[in-house]
Each structure stands twice: as C-alpha cells, then as structure tokens.
Subunit: 353 residues, 2 copies
C-alpha cells in the first residue's frame, strides 16, 4: 500500500493500532505499551508472585502466567499484552540449569565459559507451558490489543550462558568471542536454532508480533556488533519472515548508539526499539522516515512523575510525530514506580482520544 508519511491513518478505525503501526501506518495518538508492564510495580503481581514461591514457578504455571500477562490491561488501556516469561527460558530449554537468586538475579549453571557447548540438548516439552500461556492470553484478549511474543536476541542470551549470570560489561563473553570465534559462533547458532523454534511456537500459539530483546548489544565494538548482533538477528528475521510474512518483528538493540541505523538497515526488522539514552530527535533524523520506532521514555522519568514526566513525554511525542511510532519506555518499568504515574502517562499519551 502506498502511504505518505505526512498523513496519519487513524481514520481507518482502531482495529489493532499496534499492528497497524508495525505495518508502517501512523496513528495519532500512538499505540502504547510498557516493557515489563506485568511486574513488581503492581500489587496484584506481587501477590501472585509470592503465592507461587518463585519466579520460575510463576512462568511455568500457565494459568498464573496468563493472569499476570493480562493484569496491566485490567488497569490501563494499553495496546499490547506481552507474554510473561523470561529471555533465559531458551538456555533452560537446551539444558542449562536456571535459578533466580533473590536480590542477585538469574544464575545459569554450569557457565559455558568452562563447559562444553555440545552438551546442550533440547529438553523435550520444556517450552510447552509457555505456549500454553500464549494460548490462554490470546483467548481472553480484547480485539484491539496485540499479543506480543518475545525472545532474547542470540548475543544477549549468549552473554548469560557464557558468564552464568548478568555481568557488568559482558567481559567473559566478549573475550570468548575474540579468543575462540569458532566456539562462540557455534554457541550463537545453537541459540539461533532454538530461538527460531521458540518464536515459531509462540506464533502458532497466537502471538501476533514478536520482539527480540538485545539488552547487552551496547557493549560490543562495531565489527563484533556486526557479527554477533546484526548477523544473527538478520538470519532469524529472514527465517521468521519466510514462514510468517505477516508477523512483524521489533528489534531492540539496547545501547546500540550510533550503530542503530546499520542495525535497522541490515537486520530488516519491522520496527526498532530505542533505549532511554537516545535523543528522540536525533533518532528521528537518523532512521528512515517510514521505519516504525518504539520508545523511549526514561523509566526514571516515569518514576519521578510531575513536570519532568510531562516534558519528556511531549518531547518524545513531538520528535516522532511524523513517523509510525509506538510509545514505550526505553527500558523496563522500575518496581517502585507509582501506579498513578502510569495513569498520568496514559493520559498524556492517549489524552486526545
């Protein structure tokens, strides 16, 4: 369909505004969702999380996970539900042991810096409860809300698998990638393979759009970024498009900085998510006019609320007023964010409706 970037197309009716924007339409107001919108800032999440005893129990009980996925939609008129799960389900599904240590984050054992990559084998059935969650969410979703499935991008998943945990600057995986390119490349391909299957499973279960979280894309030098962020993402996107040409893919290379244009051009993602450190006016000038952009409010501005929030939200809306835009944070919502600030944000973004 030919379209002019200067004409908003909201006249076409609501449908699923998020999907419309991912197809390249502008909507005014833009669709809105929040990374980690199903999370600890909600009392009803904390209650369910405590009742289940552990994060992984919550993810693996598909009734509870579906419930959690839908919780923010009961409170706010958001345009998407995002599957409640974790990017480390993929290493868990190929046999690394996964635990969440309270106050310290996830642990994968054994760390692959000292273990054999060939020992990783798919564990039968380990992804099935996740697909159940997707099906359950889809069955009770309103007709204007888009269901987003997701996975970690291969580089980010590899950083956790190699180090066994999150690390300050991904030093171990970056060193391994330089020191043993063959071994690191084999790991990336193994992750790609299971991630492709995992995302296909989510689409078959009802996911309507997909997001690839590359949370640690920011630590790589440019040639490494080409090899471990852009190339695996491009291969995944190509395979997904081949099988599901109508399911849009959002790439979120957090911290890509000045490499965002190359990422957008070379991966062929349908939309690019930008983090909170990016100047939205700069990003708007840097990226192709018709490329949908998602982002990028600082979660700390949402936490702060008040005039700061008003000013930063308006700056983002203004910067992206001329292109397809999905309003979001530039990073996950913080657990001490007041619910009233989310209400204020919704009003600021959607107030004109």
């Amino acid at each position: 369909m030919a379209r002019s970037p200067s004409e908003p197309t909201s006249a076409g009716g609501p449908g699923k505004p998020l999907l419309a924007v991912l197809r390249g339409e502008r909507r005014d107001p833009p669709p809105l969702w929040l990374m980690r919108q199903a999370g600890r800032y909600l009392a009803e999440y904390r209650a369910l999380r405590q009742a289940k005893g552990s994060f992984l129990n919550l993810v693996y009980d598909s009734d509870s996970a579906a419930n959690v996925t839908l919780q923010p939609l009961d409170r706010f008129p958001l345009d998407a539900a995002i599957l409640f799960s974790d990017i480390l389900i993929v290493p868990f599904a190929i046999g690394q042991n996964l635990t969440f240590v309270t106050g310290e984050g996830p642990r994968l054992t054994p760390p692959l810096i000292s273990a054999d990559i060939d020992s990783l084998k798919p564990v039968p059935g380990r992804l099935d409860p996740i697909y159940q969650t997707v099906r359950k969410v889809k069955a009770s979703l309103s007709e204007t809300v888009t269901l987003i499935g997701f996975a970690g991008a291969p580089w980010t998943v590899a950083t956790y698998m190699v180090a066994g945990q999150g690390s300050r600057d991904q030093s171990d995986p970056r060193r391994l990638a330089y020191a043993d390119r063959g071994r690191f490349g084999a790991l990336i391909e193994r992750i790609e393979e299971v991630t492709f299957d995992y995302l296909c499973g989510q689409v078959e279960a009802g996911a309507e759009a997909l997001q690839l979280f590359d949370s640690w894309a920011g630590s790589l030098a440019p040639r490494q970024f080409e090899d471990w962020v852009i190339a695996p993402t491009a291969r995944l996107v190509a395979r997904l498009k081949d099988r599901y040409p109508d399911v849009p893919v959002i790439g979120f290379p957090k911290g890509a900085g000045g490499k965002i244009r190359a990422y957008a051009a070379e991966t062929a993602v349908d939309a690019v998510g930008i983090d909170e450190t990016v100047d939205p006016q700069w990003a708007n000038a840097e990226l192709p006019d018709d490329l949908p952009v998602q982002g990028n409010l600082d979660p700390l501005a949402l936490l702060a609320g008040g005039e700061t929030l008003v000013r930063d939200v308006r700056a983002i809306l203004d910067a992206f007023a001329g292109r397809p835009h999905i309003f979001n944070l530039g990073h996950g919502i913080l657990q001490d964010t007041p619910v009233e600030h989310v209400e204020q944000l919704v009003e600021l973004v959607k107030g004109g409706e």
Copy 2:
C-alpha cells in the same frame, strides 16, 4: 591558520605531534597514546605498586607517581605521558574519605546519598603532591612528548560521590538528579569548582593538554545528558579557555552514542574521545570535518592481538585518515594485555615513520 583537511601537515617537523593534532593539524602517522598506559599490564608498574602497598600511596608519593607516569615511555615511542593519578582525587580533596578495596574498586565514605553536600570542604594541601608529580614528569619528558593532565568530568565524579562506589547503571545518582535537582545541581557545581582549580594547578605545574573523563556519560537520558554532562563540561571548558587559551581540552564522554555530535558542538572541547563501541566511519561522518578525534580501538582487540588487531587498527586509521586524529584505545588497557601486543600496535600505527 587556514588549513585544508586534505593535506597532512607532517612536513612541519615533529615538534609535539599530539599538540599539533589538538590544534587541528593532521599528522600521518597519527600521534598515539593509550588510556591507562601506566598500569598493571607492565611488570615494572606491578613491582612499584606492590612496594608502595596501596594505590593511594603510589599516587601520593610523587617520585613514584612520576616514575610510573614515565614507565610506558621507556618501552614504547608514545606521543603522550598522562599524569598517574585517579579521578577520585577530587572528592578526596574536598573531604570524602577514599579507599581502594582490593578486587572491588574504590570506596568513598560517607556516600552522599545519605550525607550533607555542604559538609564538603577543601582539604588544604591535598592536591599538592599531584602537582609535584606533574612537575617531576615535565622535567624529564622528551621534547616530542606531550604531558596530559586530567580530571573526571563532574557527572562521573558525582556518580561515585553519591553512590560511594562504582555502580552498575549509576542508579542512585540518576535517581537523585531527578528527585532533587537542586541538591544534585549544587553537588555538580561544587565538583566543577574544585575541578577547575585542580586543572589550573596541573597546567601551572606543566600539563600541556587536559582530558576530561566522563566515564559514565552513557547512562543518561538526553535531557539529563544536557544538564549534567554537556552543561558542566561547557562551563569548565569556557573557564579553562579564558585562563589558558593555548591549553587544549579533550572531552571523553564514554557511551555518549548518538549524542556525541551535540557534545562536541555544545561543550567546545578541542577534541572528542570516542569509545570502542563507536563505528569509526560513522563517527567520522557524524562529527565536523576539522574536529580532532581520539580513539578508538577495543582494548579486547589489543588483548587478542594477531589478525583481529591488524584489521581493527587499519579500519580506525582508514576511517580517520582525512581528519586530525589521535590514535588511542576506546577504554583503558586491560591488565592482562601482553606487552608484545602493544609493540605490535605501535608498529601498526607508526610503522610508516
């Protein structure tokens, strides 16, 4: 002096190549130095560091600190010596207690998140040994080598002062900056004041160029970046230029990403240092043609050595061949870097001389 960016000016003789480039001349080959070139990768540094018992003892013994500053020059034909000191000398000079915990990095007590900023008062004489080091280094420096003084930029110094230590994403200082703009701004101004005096002292003692390290510039959202990185740096540069118009200032806003052009334009630094995550071709296109650029080899590529090093060094030399360029790493040299790789780097950059 009028100059054409297409004509290298090395015909003018060596002089101090680094100063020439900081004045806007191109040199072929470019001048070369390495962040943390005086450091643990050198056996002679490790010996002296062990003999002095603590990092702070080493910094405060100006004979030893001068010795350490000059150690890399005895091994490699580098174009600069950089004062051996630490960015946290500034909070120490205004009364925060500074210790270096082995394996954990620096601690400043009490952290200002819970302490009174007004309690900070300059400690008489605490910067004098640093100026002694500068004088001693200057007295024995070869006539082609530039002596670089430095300080942390106010934002980065503030992050340590508020948190009391390095932190994963500077969460506490970023929160304070949103929650109590007045208090945070007062802290930044206090740091600015002592940093200005400190840099003036270094220049009076013999420093010929200055570098402002903004190691944590990368964590800020764009409006915060304007307020806490660009504005304080611009004020410092203006005051330094007013007093010492001939002393060039290198700004190094690590992680600035797409905000690097605004930083360069608005701070009026004489040169911009770029980190290893920046694509040098992108940076070359993004920054004004006549702006000297410093960087940006990945320290992990230097650690790896071999063909990786050759390829990455050439890519940087090629990208910046048409502008004033200072070859450097994009971050400090790693302590397990083989000395032979530094020799290989020098040969790659300077081989044509």
